[in-house]
């Protein structure tokens, strides 16, 4: 090739090379422009996105407030929950870890299989809860083997704990995870570890107990692993709630009830404070907050003594003879003299029916005082017939029947104080005269709860004040003077006299009087029929448990200057004098012995 041709070729090449270079420079300019657009023009937007990538807000659960008894004894508090957690990392062999841990913690093959199933969906950075509520022994087994379990660690959570679970379950209730229907959509409710009150005081005082969640800003990497904490706003613990319950008395009562299916309520007749509210048998709320096991749940459901029902305020029973005070007061109000007498031959013929007295041979001639002390049915059949059901219902309402007492425990039932109008509305049937007779002895349509009976006893004992029961320790808001019931003091004194007669020789419960004279109580037995009285049944014959009568006893003490009222119900206890009165005696005795004033007096005497 000639030099000239070679020169031409170079010029030609240079032209084309410069075209290429210009294109490249232009493209480089586009890249620089794009970089400028991303890093300068839209930078703010991307800074926000970058921060939301790495910075996550985490809620700090507030410690739940404690529940204390009147003396500051802990009834419910928070314990550390040791949780065994597996943290998935890149290239980790999950199966081996799970089988190792399940061997250490002695898990069942089903539990292990369930964990393995969950582990399948596990991605690096995820965590898997292997086991909660580790015992000290399990905890130490994990710690000892820590070198072989690199991705397993112990996480500290909180668990609600009830030290006296046996006796307090029905007062305190239990806590549990927030279900979808319960959730208010707040961040706190969306925390899987958050527990809120599901029943009892835990539910009623949720707002006080819950506290305020804190927040921490943490930096996380792309796998969700914590890098560092950036900022922290501490949570505020929930308030402590102080109850009116005296744990020593509550525990005493529960022990005294023993294996019976029973309820006992003790309240202060002046302040309305409930010192003891027992419903037995009960359940273990600790097992509820730890996730209830199916077989435990089934055993609770199948128990014929209904451990899940709070009998003290949701159990509705006919009051039987303890209702006679109300009938007597209604009679006095209607102008019946306490000196009026009835003759009791052991039965009362009414229309085509025969209404029997509990005493087959009859009480003979009885006045109001003896009718109460001996619990003569015939006297009250006649009195009720004379009064009519509406007058009785009016008096029953004054003493708190037929409506909620308003105690701060959810699930209360109102019972029934029947009237003619009530029956027409409820059954669309007219009231029958014979039904009034039944109401006269606290049977028929009348239904009450043990709490209502304790309230009745308190209002009878305090001189006719409309005290209201409360589970909270009396504070500044508690009225010192309740409104009057509008029942003359003289009427109340007559009924109180009758209740003292019950404890006197010849009375239905004279054997159950408290031996210590300064603590003497006044009371009334009651036996509520579950099935009709059958005098044909041989005396002492065996009756199936669930066909036996409910035993009632209401009382107050000391009998001269009443301070405490008590109601005892023993389901299928057969007779109030046999099953309920001795419990009331022991509980009221203990109540007065524990009374700080009495203890002080005793100590100075000694």
């Amino acid at each position: 090739m000639s030099l000239r041709a070679e020169n031409d070729r170079q010029i030609f090449f240079t032209r084309r090379a410069l075209v290429l270079g210009a294109v490249k420079l232009g493209v480089a300019g586009v890249l620089a422009g794009r970089l400028y657009y991303l890093q300068v023009v839209r930078s703010g937007e991307f800074v926000t996105l970058s921060d939301s990538n790495r910075i996550k807000l985490q809620l700090i659960l507030p410690p739940r407030g404690r529940i204390l008894d009147r003396f500051g004894e802990q009834m419910a508090y928070n314990k550390v929950n040791y949780r065994c957690v597996f943290n998935m990392e890149q290239g980790q062999e999950v199966k081996a870890v799970i089988s190792h841990v399940s061997k250490l913690l002695e898990m069942s093959p089903q539990q292990e299989a369930a964990l393995l199933k969950e582990a399948k969906a596990l991605r690096p950075g995820n965590t898997l809860l292997l086991k909660e509520y580790l015992s000290w022994e399990e905890l130490s087994r994990i710690e000892v083997n820590a070198p072989d379990l690199p991705s397993v660690h112990i996480d500290l959570g909180q668990v609600r704990y009830y030290p006296d679970y046996e006796g307090t379950a029905h007062i305190l209730g239990h806590v549990g995870a927030v279900s979808e229907e319960e959730s208010d959509g707040s961040p706190l409710h969306r925390q899987p570890e958050f527990r809120h009150g599901k029943s009892g005081v835990e539910k009623h005082f949720e707002r006080e107990l819950v506290g305020k969640p804190g927040v921490k800003r943490v930096e996380m990497d792309a796998h969700g692993l914590l890098v560092r904490e950036l900022a922290r706003e501490e949570s505020v613990a929930g308030e402590d709630v102080t109850l009116s319950i005296d744990m020593r008395l509550q525990n005493f009562t529960v022990k005294r009830i023993g294996e019976e299916s029973a309820s006992v309520v003790v309240m202060d007749v002046r302040s309305g404070e409930v010192l003891t509210l027992a419903s037995m048998p009960a359940f273990d709320p600790n097992r509820f907050s730890q996730g209830i096991k199916p077989d435990y749940w089934k055993s609770l459901l199948n128990n014929e003594k209904h451990p899940l029902i709070n009998k003290a305020l949701a159990g509705q029973y006919p009051p039987g003879s303890i209702f006679k005070m109300i009938v007597a007061l209604a009679g006095l109000k209607a102008g019946v003299s306490e000196h009026n007498t009835s003759y009791c031959p052991g039965y009362l013929a009414f229309g085509s029916h025969v209404f029997r007295c509990w005493k087959k041979e009859g009480h003979g001639t009885v006045d109001m005082h003896n009718a109460l002390s001996w619990s003569c049915d015939v006297y009250f059949y006649q009195l009720a017939h004379r009064l009519g059901v509406d007058a009785i219902a009016e008096m029953a309402r004054k003493f708190g029947m037929g409506e909620l007492t308003g105690i701060e425990i959810p699930g209360e039932k109102s019972g029934i104080a029947p009237t003619e109008a009530w029956k027409r509305k409820r059954y669309n049937q007219p009231w029958l005269g014979g039904e009034t007779l039944n109401v006269g002895i606290g049977q028929g349509y009348v239904l009450v709860t043990p709490l209502q009976m304790a309230l009745m006893a308190a209002r009878l004992a305090n001189g006719g004040y409309a005290v209201k029961p409360s589970i909270l320790k009396a504070g500044a808001e508690t009225p010192t003077e309740w409104p009057k019931l509008g029942v003359p003091k003289s009427h109340l004194e007559l009924v109180q006299e009758g209740m003292r007669g019950v404890m006197a020789p010849g009375g239905t419960a004279h054997r159950s009087q408290i031996p210590d004279e300064q603590f003497h109580m006044a009371g009334k037995t009651g036996t509520a029929q579950v099935v009709k009285i059958n005098h044909n049944r041989p005396k002492g014959a065996w009756v199936p448990w669930n066909e036996r009568h409910h035993a009632w006893f209401v009382a107050y003490a000391p009998n001269t200057t009443p301070h405490y009222a008590c109601a005892v119900l023993v389901e299928h206890g057969d007779a109030g004098s046999k099953a309920a009165a001795p419990i009331a005696r022991d509980v009221l005795w203990e109540t007065q012995k524990l009374d700080p004033c009495n203890r002080f007096r005793k100590e100075t005497e000694e």
Partner: protein, 376 residues
């Protein structure tokens, strides 16, 4: 000046007269690479920086060797080298290790070799030699174009089969640039562009599923932010949040907390731009522009067509790497796995880039050499 007189210069003289500013430029780019790889490892020399430095040293030696070999020798062995590279590609096709779902590596001693990276350079050499012997008029004779078309088609098809769309694109692009510089008429390009546009739907049909997904994601990145679009979205967030001066060395939250995938290889520029900001990103772009500018300068100042074509080919290769990589991480084009030479971690690409620089240095050193059409 005859060829033999230049070759007979002493070794020291030739070493001294290499274009050292260019070597310094390469050193700066590589230095930035070591720095950012150190940050990518969370402030550790291992696993990336130390090995990258070792490869740089090896590449540096190879660069000098390639720079000091007589240009005529390169011309003589151009076809042989081309043949060897094609052979290696075939070996990879037959026995290659599976890596990242594609057959790209073959183990040679201690290095996992990616022959496709070397193929680009060998193709440039072969085309340069072929067109060195043709005048601009001859270039447009269809019959004489058969051989270069075959030279291009064989490796491109082999690389596409691996499959490695990025490298195949660069290989083809480099070849197109060399043909253009050699004098191929504009008409061919116009026909090529029109034909190519018409072929897009057909080509799309032949793409692998993962490649189709990438194109789809590119066209609508918000459609699947946690799936295939995740990488690009995170990359844009990383670059954008870097701002004017960056988050600081080892302070890039997107990279350090692993929101950014493959930060040490394909997304190295993203990481650099996050930690050093617009200032840092522009520095890299300008260093590249300088490298490409120098290559074009070497091309137009060379007195022999062989050297000119090599320089323009190498310039185009660096340009395409820069463009595809940066445009991809900034969300301008679909995700195509192409590394950024000197910055991305990877043995073959760094060594291939150093060899390419060696070629540039050689072209520059022999810029006054005049070679006949026969060349030898």
């Amino acid at each position: 000046m005859s060829a033999s007189t230049r070759i007979s210069r002493p070794f020291g003289y030739r070493l001294m007269h290499l274009h050292w500013p260019l070597i310094m430029l390469i050193g700066m780019l590589s230095g930035l690479g070591f720095l950012i790889l150190y940050s990518a490892a969370g402030g550790n020399m291992d696993p990336w920086t130390s090995r990258q430095m070792l490869r740089f040293a090896l590449g540096f030696v190879l660069m000098l060797i390639v720079a000091l070999v007589p240009l005529q020798t390169l011309m003589r062995y151009a076809y042989v080298l081309y043949g060897a590279a094609v052979l290696m590609l075939i070996v990879v096709e037959l026995f290659g290790h599976m890596g990242m779902g594609a057959q790209r590596w073959v183990k040679v001693g201690f290095v996992n070799l990616q022959p496709s990276e070397l193929m680009k350079l060998c193709l440039v050499l072969a085309l340069a030699r072929y067109f060195h012997g043709l005048s601009p008029q001859e270039v447009n004779r269809p019959l004489l174009l058969v051989v270069p078309m075959l030279l291009i088609a064989v490796p491109v098809v082999l690389i596409l089969k691996q499959p490695n769309l990025g490298t195949a694109t660069i290989t083809a692009g480099v070849a197109v640039a060399v043909l253009f510089a050699a004098g191929l008429t504009y008409w061919v390009y116009i026909i090529g562009i029109v034909g190519g546009a018409a072929a897009v739907p057909v080509l799309y049909h032949f793409l692998h599923d993962y490649q189709k997904r990438r194109v789809d994601t590119f066209l609508d990145p918000e459609s699947d932010p946690l799936g295939a679009g995740y990488n690009i979205l995170q990359s844009k967030i990383a670059i954008g949040s870097g701002g004017l001066f960056g988050k600081g060395f080892m302070e890039g939250s997107q990279s350090q907390l692993n929101f950014l995938p493959e930060k040490e290889t394909d997304f190295i520029f993203t990481m650099f731009a996050e930690e050093f900001g617009f200032a840092g990103g522009m520095t890299v772009i300008l260093l590249y522009v300088a490298l490409i500018g120098a290559s074009i300068l070497f091309a137009v100042t060379s007195r022999n067509q062989f050297g000119r074509l090599i320089a323009i080919g190498v310039a185009t290769m660096f340009f395409l790497h820069m463009f595809i990589n940066m445009a991809m991480v900034m969300g301008l084009i679909p995700v195509v796995g192409v590394p950024l030479p000197f910055l991305s971690y990877g043995g073959t690409i760094l060594i291939a880039a150093m060899i390419a620089v060696g070629l540039l240095l050689n072209v520059h050193a022999n810029r006054f050499l005049v070679m006949g059409r026969g060349g030898l």
